[in-house]
């Protein structure tokens, strides 16, 4: 039954109906998460109020990594099942993944300044986020550089899988590298006293980010379907949906 939605034409209106649900979920969860983060969670003993960046930094970082895996998963599905929709899904996810990676780097940098005194710290998390950003950008660039969409999808899929296999190795090597050069360095987010309220706020914001990602990805997927199947009759008929 699920496979009947594997055709872009069939999934297009479904995606359109799903977007508002996920958008509302995202808004509600974000409101809850921000409320907990700013009005429930207490001031941190060592970092003062600056630690509240955690409620956007950690969810952004989690989403950046999670979305890459989902993207690679869709890519694998596309290569195995040869479905057009899978490649389009991977293309739809990539910019959002890159956005969260950038946001993780930006917020991490602004958190590092009051905590460590500099805007950039070569710690394991930030450095591997940077490499992840390069992986996302490479994926987007490769797809943009290949004219034929089907070929671009398949080449991108191979690249995404190559990246996915290497990400654990890259992360391990960056962790090794940072402990080598900084000794036993404490990660930005490894706070020994993580109050339950702080964790709640982080989880709520992470769920909000997830719902947001789904909503935006589905919107972008519809745009991709429109641009690729543009001349088809059904597009003009369903223009209102």
């Amino acid at each position: 039954m699920i496979f009947s939605y594997a055709a872009p034409q069939a999934f297009y209106p479904v995606a359109g109906r799903m977007v508002p649900w996920f958008a509302w979920l995202a808004a509600i969860l974000a409101a809850g998460g921000l409320y907990v983060g700013f009005f429930v969670a207490p001031t941190d003993a060592t970092q003062g109020e600056s630690y509240r960046i955690i409620f956007i930094h950690v969810p952004a970082a989690w989403m950046s990594m999670f979305l890459y895996l989902v993207m690679a998963g869709w890519a694998a599905l596309g290569l195995i099942l040869n479905t057009r929709l899978s490649g389009m899904m991977a293309s739809a996810i990539a910019p959002t993944g890159a956005m969260f990676t950038f946001l993780a780097l930006w917020t991490g940098s602004l958190w590092g300044k009051p905590t460590w005194g500099t805007y950039w710290v070569w710690d394991a998390r930030l450095t591997s986020e940077l490499v992840l950003l390069f992986l996302y950008l490479g994926f987007i660039a490769l797809k943009a550089a290949i004219p034929d969409p089907q070929r671009a999808d398949r080449a991108g899929a191979v690249l995404a899988l190559l990246g996915a296999v290497n990400v654990p190795i890259i992360y391990f090597s960056v962790v090794w590298w940072s402990t080598l050069h900084q000794g036993a360095s404490v990660s930005l987010t490894r706070s020994p006293t993580m109050a339950a309220t702080m964790l709640t706020g982080m989880v709520l914001m992470a769920l909000a980010a997830w719902m947001y990602s789904i909503a935006v990805t589905l919107l972008r997927l519809r745009a991709i379907i429109r641009s690729r199947e543009g001349d088809a009759e059904w597009i003009r008929i369903s223009a209102g949906k």
Partner: protein
């Protein structure tokens, strides 16, 4: 299969030696890039000694990437690439041959020349030995993953720059362990662990890289 492998390697080597300039270009770029870093930061021996491992490795990575676009492009233009795909031998064997000849013409010369550049950066003898060993293990990785990258960007717009963007994140472990090994040797620590990790990464790449390269070639020539 071994016969086809050797034939292809010997053919690539013969073609390359007819155009020796390409091989030398890579080496000259290596030397120039490494010298640029020294010119950029000044001649202080302590600073150079601290930077040397990283500089030599980064310059080697960049130089090795220079010749990658050519790996399949020439064969594509001549039509021999299509022949490779319909040949009775498994595509993997032929791709392995392309990787081997790339390494012999790029990675191996880079590794052998690197100790000379290490001297420019005041590296002691035992560090130079680790530098050589690391590059001998690491440059094949560049060729293996590079084959995948070259196959993916075949016929794409702006292939050579795109290749860099695609491959450099994947090269991070090679750089970290390779340069880390030299730094360990410089501090008197045993570099064995780093070299072993480099070897492990080589083993993983040898499985993943050719798989990706074969898939990418089939996609490119569909």
């Amino acid at each position: 299969m071994a016969h086809a492998f050797l034939l292809l390697v010997r053919r690539d080597l013969r073609i390359a030696l007819r155009r020796r300039g390409d091989v030398l270009n890579v080496l000259v770029f290596f030397l120039v890039a490494a010298s640029l870093f020294a010119l950029g930061v000044g001649p202080s021996p302590e600073l150079l000694r601290a930077m040397g491992a990283g500089v030599v490795w980064v310059a080697a990575l960049l130089a090795a990437m220079l010749s990658l676009p050519r790996m399949f492009a020439a064969d594509l233009a001549e039509g021999t690439l299509e022949q490779m795909l319909i040949a009775p031998q498994p595509l993997g064997v032929l791709v392995a041959a392309k990787i081997a000849s790339h390494w012999l013409l790029t990675g191996l010369p880079l590794a052998l020349v690197a100790p000379l550049i290490g001297l420019q950066y005041q590296l002691p003898a035992d560090a130079l030995a680790v530098l050589l060993a690391g590059l001998l293990i690491g440059t094949p990785v560049l060729s293996v993953l590079g084959a995948a990258g070259a196959a993916l960007t075949l016929g794409a717009r702006g292939a050579s720059v795109l290749l860099g963007l695609l491959l450099l994140p994947l090269y991070v472990p090679v750089l970290v362990f390779g340069a880390g090994a030299v730094l360990a040797a410089q501090s008197g620590i045993d570099a064995g662990a780093q070299l072993a990790l480099l070897g492990a990464f080589l083993a993983v790449s040898c499985v993943v890289g050719p798989l990706a390269a074969c898939a990418a070639l089939k996609i490119a020539l569909d």
